[in-house]
């Protein structure tokens, strides 16, 4: 087991310099469909400079209760998105995961599901967490299917929490417990 803790079948996780992520974030954020699938905040078009400042501030912070990785493809080493965990290092052994693939041409090809599986293995085998949760919007069926493939189970919905394009949408909570992940046997190193 070498780098395998952060490698899947299609992707690997990497740590990137602020200016690299900033350039990508700034570009990806201009795709408002992507942004609205990911985030409830209204899109703001921030410059590469602003993104770099913001990410460099994170560098200064040192330790925090969040972890982020860049997602790169194994075959071309292309930087296609990012994935992160929130609310870590607390006594409950629970976390929230968020993933986004900014490069459209990699949507619907299994890259997201592969990345999620790698993240679950890291969460359960390195961070020793008891459960991993996530929030997905009910206008994102592609993501929901991907999460189900990775083993997540729906846990409830916050009804009508999003108002976009003139109608109401729900937040969907999903989660996977350690025992379920072990039983699934998907990528248990």
């Amino acid at each position: 087991m070498n780098n395998s803790l952060l490698r899947g079948e299609l992707v690997r996780f990497a740590a990137e310099n602020p200016e690299v992520m900033a350039a990508n974030f700034s570009r990806w954020n201009q795709d408002t469909e992507w942004l609205r699938l990911l985030d409830t905040d209204p899109p703001r078009l921030l410059s590469v400079k602003k993104w770099t400042e913001w990410l460099e501030k994170d560098l200064e912070k040192g330790t925090s209760d969040e972890l982020f990785f860049a997602i790169r493809t194994l075959d071309e080493d292309a930087l296609i998105g990012f994935i992160g965990l929130f609310d870590l290092f607390k006594q409950h052994g629970d976390t929230l995961v968020a993933i986004a693939l900014g490069e459209r041409k990699y949507w619907g090809k299994g890259y997201g599901t592969d990345a999620m599986r790698v993240m679950l293995r890291y969460a359960f085998n390195e961070l020793n967490l008891r459960r991993v949760g996530l929030i997905v919007f009910d206008y994102n069926p592609r993501a929901m299917r991907s999460y189900e493939k990775a083993g997540f189970i729906p846990e409830g919905r916050i009804r009508g929490a999003i108002l976009r394009e003139g109608r109401r949408w729900d937040w969907l909570y999903m989660g996977i417990l350690r025992e379920e992940w072990l039983a699934n046997g998907i990528m248990t190193s």
Binding site: N3, L5, E19, E126
Partner: protein, 197 residues
């Protein structure tokens, strides 16, 4: 062995300062090997970007300069100056003469060639003959038998077993503390030259 003996030169390696320009890229690459990180640190294994390594290097030199409780050296190939790893003595308690040591050879392909062993001996000689320390400790996790053997071969003695202290891959492992005292090291290496296993 007198004042003229070179503290930082071995036959295979040299102990050297940080190269802020060239080293971050190499070390960033090593940190994507989580087995190495797990061998060195208790914190969750997390790869570091080049920028993060650069910041870490600045923090290291600041701490070396200000705390006076840390010595951090890069291990370089004596032939071509290539970065092989690092070795450090940290947590020095001067009034007691105690300290902790960490050593890493970053690329698995460079291990088992004697680089680590020589760097360890250079560092121990530095600790005992220049810093005048009484003891040097090292911490190894039970799931890393190579590291345990490495230190034991060099004369470290197992002193503490913190049972099931480390949880990884769903299994609990002991954290093993080893120690070597100045008298023990002197007995093995005498006051002769620096040739070692």
């Amino acid at each position: 062995m007198g004042i003229e003996t070179q503290l930082f030169e071995g036959k295979l390696v040299r102990l050297a300062p940080i190269d802020h320009e060239k080293d971050p890229e190499v070390e960033s690459r090593w940190t994507h090997d989580l087995t190495l990180l797990r061998a060195l640190y208790r914190q969750p294994a997390m790869p570091q970007s080049i920028a993060q390594i650069k910041k870490k290097y600045e923090a290291i030199e600041k701490e070396v300069d200000e705390s006076k409780k840390l010595f951090h050296f890069m291990i370089r190939d004596k032939q071509d100056g290539r970065l092989l790893g690092f070795v450090r003595i940290e947590g020095i308690e001067w009034s007691h003469g105690t300290s902790k040591l960490k050593l890493a050879i970053g690329d698995p392909a460079d291990r088992g060639k004697g680089y680590g062993g020589e760097a360890l001996q250079l560092m121990l000689r530095f600790a005992f003959s220049e810093l005048n320390l009484y003891r040097v400790a090292a911490v190894v996790v039970e799931d890393n038998p190579e590291a345990l053997k490495f230190f034991q071969r060099c004369g470290f003695v197992e002193e503490v077993r913190r049972r099931k202290a480390i949880l990884r891959d769903g299994q609990a492992w002991d954290s093993i503390h080893l120690g070597i005292l100045r008298d023990e090291w002197m007995a093995i290496h005498g006051k002769g030259d620096s040739s070692h296993e």
